[in-house]
C-alpha cells in the first residue's frame, strides 16, 4: 500500500503497525512523536495502530532550537 511519510510517498507492506514502521527505519519509539492524518498517536498505541492505504504520517523528533 501507499502512505505519505514526512511528506514523501512510499510503498509499504500491509498490514503494518506504527511500531513496525519505526523499527523498519531504525527509529527509537521513545524518542519520536507521531501524527497520523493530523491526529497525534500516543506512544502506547504505536503497536496497536495499523496503517491504511493513503494514510499520511508525520514522524518528528527533537532538534536544537531557541
Amino acid at each position: 500500500m501507499k502512505i505519505t511519510l514526512n511528506g514523501k510517498e512510499i510503498l509499504v507492506g500491509n498490514p503494518l503497525s506504527i511500531v513496525a514502521l519505526l523499527a523498519e527505519h531504525d527509529l527509537d519509539s521513545t524518542r519520536v512523536a507521531v501524527e497520523l492524518n493530523r491526529e497525534v498517536i500516543c506512544a502506547n498505541a504505536f503497536a496497536t495502530t495499523l496503517l491504511s492505504d493513503g494514510d499520511s504520517l508525520e514522524i518528528i523528533h527533537f532538534v536544537g532550537g531557541g
Binding site: G7, A43, I59, F62
Partner: protein, 256 residues
C-alpha cells in the same frame, strides 16, 4: 538570588538557554553547564527518514533540566497547536514556548495567531510561554487567557543587538501579573543585565552562546550578568537625573 516561580514551579536559575545552532553537542552542553540553566528550549522537526542523525536528547539530562519545546517553524496557530501536541506526545511535560513566526526575514511573531494558539493550548492544559513582540496590550491579552509568562523580544532573533525595545518592555513589566522573560536579541552579558535591572524575571539566550568562541565561558559570563542585574533590581537602583548631585560634602572647601 531569589527563586523564579513559573506556574507554581520554582527555579534557581533566571537564565534560560536555547540549544540551536551549536557547532557540536559538546559545545551546547558546555553552554548549559556554564550558564547553570534549568530551563532548556528545543525545537521539533521531521525526522530525516533516510538519514536519522544523532539524537540530541541523549546529551541533555532530563532530570536536571526542564525541557521546554518550542513551536518554531509554525506559520499559524494551527501549526503551533499541532507542534505543541506532538511535543507532549513525545514525552515532554505540558510546557510549551509558543512561537508563531510567519516572516522568515525578521522572524517577528504573529500576534493574532499567537493569541489564538495560546487560548487553545491553555484550555488543553499547557503551560504556555508565548514569544511576542514587545507589545504591552498583546501581553495583557495573553495573560488574560492564562499564559504563565510573556516573552517579549529585545531585538529580532539572532541579532545580538540587545534590549532595543526597552521602553515597551518597561511597560510590560510594570503591568505584568506573570513573569516577564526577555527573549531574543540579547548578545552580551550586559544586555542580559540590563533586562534584569529593569525587572525582567528571566532572560532566554541562545545565539550568543552558540556563536561564542567558548560557549561554556560565555554561559558563565551571562550567568553573572543575569545575577548582577537581578541583584541590582532587588537592591533598588537610583533614578537618572539631568544635573549633577555631589557625592562629596559641599562644605569645608579650602576657599570657604
Amino acid at each position: 538570588m531569589d527563586k523564579l516561580v513559573i506556574a507554581g514551579r520554582e527555579f534557581s536559575s533566571r537564565l534560560m538557554v536555547g540549544t540551536g545552532k551549536f557547532s557540536s553537542h559538546a559545545a551546547m552542553v558546555a553552554a548549559l553547564e556554564g550558564a547553570e540553566a534549568e530551563i532548556v528550549t528545543v525545537a521539533l522537526r521531521r525526522v530525516d527518514i533516510d538519514n536519522p542523525d544523532d539524537d540530541m536528547l541523549t546529551h541533555i539530562d532530563r532530570n536536571k533540566y526542564l525541557l521546554l519545546p518550542n513551536t518554531s517553524g509554525a506559520r499559524d496557530a494551527d501549526e503551533a497547536v499541532r507542534l505543541a501536541r506532538l511535543a507532549r506526545a513525545a514525552g515532554c511535560e505540558p510546557w510549551i514556548k509558543l512561537e508563531v513566526t510567519p516572516d522568515p526575514y525578521y522572524l517577528l511573531p504573529d500576534p493574532i495567531e499567537t493569541l489564538k494558539a495560546a487560548e487553545i493550548l491553555v484550555k488543553e492544559g499547557f503551560n504556555v510561554l508565548p514569544y511576542i513582540n514587545a507589545d504591552p496590550v498583546l501581553a495583557k491579552h495573553l495573560q488574560e487567557v492564562g499564559t504563565v509568562t510573556v516573552m517579549p523580544l529585545g531585538a529580532p532573533i539572532g541579532t545580538n543587538k540587545g534590549v532595543r525595545t526597552r521602553e515597551q518592555i518597561a511597560i510590560i513589566i510594570e503591568q505584568a501579573i506573570v513573569p516577564v522573560v526577555v527573549d531574543a536579541g540579547l548578545g552580551a552579558p550586559s544586555h542580559a543585565a540590563e533586562a534584569m535591572e529593569m525587572g525582567a524575571a528571566a532572560v532566554l539566550v541562545n545565539t550568543a552562546f552558540a556563536v561564542a568562541r567558548d560557549p561554556g565561558a560565555m554561559g558563565v559570563a551571562f550567568k553573572k550578568g543575569v545575577e548582577a542585574g537581578r541583584e541590582a533590581f532587588l537592591a533598588g537602583m537610583g533614578e537618572q537625573r539631568d544635573r549633577a548631585e555631589a557625592s562629596s560634602p559641599l562644605t569645608g572647601f579650602l576657599h570657604d
